[in-house]
Symmetry: C2
């Protein structure tokens, strides 16, 4: 039986999961692939303490150069994470004619086009199912299952940490700091959770998803990215009163205008999602991604977006896929970005100021006569009209500012920002106004 | 540019969708495949009146034999439906070395193994993503995305007609007959809806899913199949009171016993699903399928399970996949049943009588002293213990029987059936007891 010889770069959570899964299902994988996946070498960081129980000590080394210099490997699996040194390692692996499987979304968002084009030139595969949505088969689906359709939008919950934090805040009426502490304790947030809660991780994933969905070259810096930190327990409570749940969403939408000028709408931010919908019901650390195809209509994929074993399922299924291509002498059979290089386009990103949303606005105002009229007056002057309003706290201590919450009819983002700037300058406004977009299309 | 030459057998709803999709996205498909999909011939039934607008008249014929005798076709797309004559046509296509794409679940459930093994011998592909879940990529996911894992269960809503009927019954407090009439009017049910509402269609799909999930040869007749017809508006209303929704579920579960004897649990029946869960929120004609993998955990796929264009997305993506194999000279690259023939096993199906569920029981009893005690006594004698109970209608006309509804603790199905048989023989029981399984794992 032919061997698929694998070198593993990285032996942390995901690397350990890969070793464990390969051991757990060795026979079945062998039967299904018609070949044997053999781990030939594992490179770990020499300062790491814990080694997976499944790792034979004789395979372990601390020298990536030695692994990359070997000429007896078919596939390099990169599960180090981060742009460097992982990017240099992947580049060298491809240059020397190895196939690569990676789970590295930061690397793909930053240098995916360069590395995939190099792989195409060298006739090797670069697979990355695990980079988005952990165990959820969203990459395969975009690349193959809906290859016959035109994707209209991709929207979803792709960062489990943020979803866990927002779910705890809602279920237990916690503030952000307490929820982060709870997430860290439960192993769902890192010591520095910035990349997750500030939207950077979701923006990396969205860059990859949008490339496959639209055949676009996208600069990850062009994704509008807003943190969930400003979302207060009070906002989650008000959202619930109006029948909404707050979620960190990643959205990539074909925003081609009426004149046919192609453009994309790319955003990561907290948003109000209607309660009772499937997206609202995705709680805890789960991920969920909605595709909307022109012919397909809506299609939802949901599951564990992280975790050693769910992520390893995607990594090892990628190794099997790469292995099948090796056995059939068909490496490069599918374009890794769903579109071949020559079909990719540079599609501009729409200025978010031009987009139209319904908004949740929370004003903090001194409860004086006429304050509501002034707020409403400014909103009206900027074409922002109010759909629903609720005011809390009347009758309490006279000087304490009160919350006034409004949901608007659809309004242009630029107008809303200008109106809020003017409102926040009013003497009766005690704190900067908080606002969130409502996503209920 | 190389051509992938296609012969289309069948020009009804799905066939029309395939022609429309190929025309709609011709350029993009060509760019992504690196080849041109060309419809060379279309065979329709000569009694069909409507022809799709996208069908060039010169391609149309009424002679399947002539199409099958052509030697210039790469792929035969079969969208006729039903076991015969479709099965004979597919067999002849494979025998003459053509690749086949089909949407035919009845044929695959009845003769899938024979046809796929023939395809393997001939070195051609037989793809069937559209046979289960319309546009939902469940076949690819089982075959490739989770190839590295061991599937524990597959459960879902795979028949849109039944789901539409049950959703109307719940949302509008309709009876079954009115809901069927509404479904027929809306185009979601056929004149004879038996195959859908009695579970046959879902059983065909479950047979295919279980084959791919477990690597099993399954006789579709071994799937326990129960109709949704006996579900009354009253049952849906009572279910709601207890926090449940009634859904037609298709379930395939690894039921290997403690001694390691492999067995499967295969069932299609109406069941109570807890409200607020994702499965409960799948309404109307949508489909949803939950996978549970040993390493993967839960993974949900949902979307349109039928309809011309969603189904066509799967059919045309299969043509692209088969085309990629042709271009890479890699036909047969992936085993079509997720496992190669030699790895398939005959796994016995568990006797449903041995299975353990919680149950919803609706007794119709004359409201006489002691009737509850007698019901409870019989249940107790068969080890069926009551978790919740509600009785309706007390104080109305003296002779009118009343509904007594109970939810049980987990009980063995055989015991429940025996207890109900005895209870239905009691003088105070006015009508046969209605019962439903509760699926809330």
């Amino acid at each position: 039986m032919r061997e698929i010889r694998v070198g593993l770069l990285g032996c942390g959570i995901v690397g350990g999961g890969v070793l464990r899964l390969l051991e757990l299902h060795q026979k079945s994988i062998e039967a299904r692939l018609g070949g044997r996946i053999v781990i030939k070498s594992v490179v770990a960081r020499d300062d790491a303490k814990d080694r997976p129980a499944e790792l034979p000590r004789e395979l372990l080394s601390f020298d990536p150069d030695a692994l990359l210099a070997r000429d007896d490997l078919d596939v390099i699996v990169e599960v180090i994470g981060g742009v460097e040194p992982a990017g240099t390692f992947v580049r060298r692996a491809i240059e020397s004619g190895r196939n690569v499987v990676t789970a590295n979304k930061a690397l793909l968002a930053a240098r995916g086009h360069e590395l995939i084009e190099l792989a195409e030139q060298r006739g090797v595969d670069l697979y990355f199912e695990a980079a988005v949505g952990g165990g959820i088969p969203i990459i395969r689906t975009l690349r193959e299952a809906v290859a016959s359709d035109r994707i209209v939008s991709v929207r979803g919950i792709v960062n489990g940490t943020s979803n866990y934090v927002l779910t705890r805040m809602r279920d237990e009426s916690m503030g952000f700091d307490d929820a982060i502490a709870a997430a860290q304790k439960a192993g769902f947030a890192e010591a520095d959770p910035s990349l997750d809660v500030d939207g950077g991780d979701a923006a990396h994933k969205l860059t990859i998803l949008a490339t496959l969905a639209f055949g676009a070259r996208i600069d990850p810096r062009s994704v509008m990215t807003e943190s969930i930190r400003p979302v207060g327990a009070i906002d989650i409570a008000f959202a619930r009163r109006f029948g909404y749940v707050v979620k960190q969403l990643a959205i990539a939408r074909d925003a081609t205008d009426d004149a046919g000028r192609r453009a994309l709408d790319l955003r990561v931010h907290p948003a109000l999602v209607r309660d009772g919908t499937v997206l609202a019901s995705i709680g805890g650390s789960l991920n969920a991604i909605y595709l909307e195809g022109q012919a397909l209509g809506p299609c939802l994929l949901a599951g564990h977006g992280a975790g050693a074993l769910p992520t390893a399922v995607s990594v090892v299924s990628d190794i099997i896929d790469v292995g099948r291509n090796l056995l059939a002498d068909a490496s490069g059979r599918v374009p890794q970005r769903a579109f071949p290089t020559e079909a990719l386009a540079d599609i501009p990103v729409r200025d978010p100021g031009e987009l139209i949303f319904r908004y949740y606005l929370r004003f903090t105002a001194h409860d004086r006569p006429g304050v509501l009229a002034r707020i409403a007056g400014v909103l009206g002057a900027f074409d922002v009209s109010i759909e629903q309003m609720v005011q809390e706290g009347r009758g309490e201590a006279e000087d304490r500012p009160v919350a006034v919450v409004m949901l608007t009819h659809p309004a242009r983002e630029r107008d809303v920002r200008r109106a809020l700037k003017e409102i926040d300058g009013l003497a009766s406004i005690a704190e900067p106004t908080r606002w969130l977009r409502i996503e209920d299309r």
